[in-house]
Subunit: 342 residues, 2 copies
């Protein structure tokens, strides 16, 4: 069995779900893939735990409540770079809440890990929005893997389908419903509910954040669109290159009128290379029943790729909770380590 | 640039489309992936062309009409094994029309190539139905790649999504509309057309074979279901383990009655592990509008995977013509050679 060191940076909901899921899947990882993950270090803000000769055993309480600063193993001021330097290179699992545009501090940790010959897996959109292709190039030149499923659709394999499954074709354009919150709101509004009470329901269900501005404004969709497009087309466009209209551009009356005519208004994120250069836009658009994303309702997501030689390929679904994001990172690790064997 | 020898075995529509598409994509393969494919041998029934020190330049006429037996380069009786032995190992691209259950002669060529350290890519269902996991194990132990996208959905990345994109989760069950011909017929029947004239249209459009028995009986769906299931669950079930009902189990009156009630009858292929062991069945089933495969109409296909931790992930679409199958093989080659870099 291949034993692989894991350094976990970020111990919020996704980080904890990753530790839980890895433990739960341990036997399957060993049996099916010959992979044994050894959690050697965990970092949160202000410091971390580093176990040089054994695994870090977090215990149920830490998994439930987080790493307390008075944990005897916790070393204030310890930085992830120390773990990359002292341990045999394995995989950095990064699930910080990074700055949405600079990507820091996650971006720095990803770069540091890759530079030291570690594979890297990220769940953060920030570093990808800032420098997805720079990270990819760095990983190539160090001959390590860099994967980002949890940041680009999580359980919805948007990046894998676009980049890998369609690698033999050229993607001409793609369209996505990339934000579950706004899609939930539009679905409710189409059924006659008013915006305010739909939003209250979404918050009650944990679908919408307490401050939903980034979803509602189209910003979250724009970031995801930018990341997918830059990775797929190997470009370095910036957020300012995305034309964004949010939900305010879709008044309830329009949404209901579309529904009455058998159509659905969706907050559509579109990347189009038809004109030679890539144009990116997010806006509410009415879809008719033949559109491949028409069935995407509620908090679901989906992406549809139009190609030159493989036709249109659409991928839909996938949960959005921390466990699903953790499963996406586990997938990334399996693929990094064993792709050819699958 | 990485120069990779290619031996092409099978020179029918898919084989020719592969040669055409590889030529068309040559610049992109070099620029984007650093891959240079060198076609060094082409085999058809009865012999082949082998170019030891240069590439085989087939020319437009051969690409349109096939390799004539009086081509001065054609050597009767020459076998693919000779190419595997004499050339530096690269990729076997196998697109023979193989026996549907024994997989021969394709299976033998795939085994021979892998045993000699060649990567192998197949478009044939036969070898996969006969011994998908044996081939996979052989490839693992020789540390070469073995891929089969063109045989398992072609441009619809059914196997890639199930095996790779969901690798961090456990697939509990999956359902597919795996046969375009029967789906076309059912779509037409739902719209009121009678079976006979729908079939005549399908044949006119090149969707149905002159002898459509393998599609209509559910046999083609059953083979594809078996292949996906064996690969995904690492099992070796046989065709006799699939319970198969074909289109005759869906009389036009049932199809129309379902349509009137807002449902669609689909020839559904189902693999279910709920009970501990894998059960496989193909049968016409009515789907309601919330089913993820409900939107799959006409000659389209789709697969929906239910997982333990990533929710339901559905992939739809993808062309079914020889060019799309060729693109799927090209994708397989890119992934074999460069996966970590994508």
């Amino acid at each position: 069995m291949m034993r692989t060191n894991v350094v976990l940076v970020g111990f919020g909901n996704v980080g904890r779900a990753f530790v839980r899921l890895s433990a739960e899947k341990q036997a399957r990882l060993a049996e099916r893939h010959g992979i044994g993950l050894r959690l050697k270090a965990v970092f949160r803000s202000g410091g971390g735990i580093l176990a040089e000769d054994r695994e870090v055993d977090l215990g149920r309480e830490v998994l439930d409540r987080g790493v307390p600063k008075d944990d005897p193993r916790f070393r204030p001021g310890l930085r992830p770079e120390a773990a990359f330097d002292r341990l045999k290179p394995g995989v950095l699992v990064e699930c910080l809440s990074a700055h949405p545009e600079t990507g820091e501090p996650a971006l720095g940790y990803l770069r540091a890990a890759i530079a030291r010959g570690w594979h890297a897996v990220t769940a953060s959109k920030g570093p990808l929005a800032a420098d997805a292709n720079g990270l990819r190039r760095a990983a190539r030149s160090r001959e390590v893997g860099f994967r980002f499923s949890a940041a680009a659709g999580a359980a919805l394999p948007a990046a894998d389908v676009g980049i890998r499954c369609l690698a033999g074709a050229e993607v001409v354009s793609f369209q996505g419903i990339l934000n579950g919150t706004t899609n939930f709101l539009l679905t409710r509004m189409a059924a006659g509910q008013d915006y305010g009470s739909a939003l209250a329901d979404a918050q009650k269900l944990g679908i919408a954040e307490p401050d939903p501005e980034r979803d509602i404004s189209g910003w979250d969709s724009a970031v995801k669109l930018l990341i997918l497009s830059n990775l797929l087309f190997d470009e370095s466009l910036k957020l300012k290159d995305v034309k964004v209209k949010g939900l305010t551009a879709a008044p309830a009356s329009d949404v209901r009128r579309a529904a009455a005519a058998g159509r659905k208004v969706k907050l559509l994120a579109v990347a189009d290379r038809g004109s030679g250069r890539t144009s990116l836009r997010v806006a509410p658009e009415p879809l008719d029943a033949r559109h491949p994303l028409f069935p995407v309702d509620g908090a679901e997501k989906g992406v549809s790729f139009l190609t030159d030689s493989m036709g249109t390929v659409t991928v839909l679904g996938g949960k959005s909770d921390p466990r699903a994001a953790a499963a996406a990172m586990l997938k990334d690790i399996i693929l990094l380590l064993k792709d050819r064997d699958l």
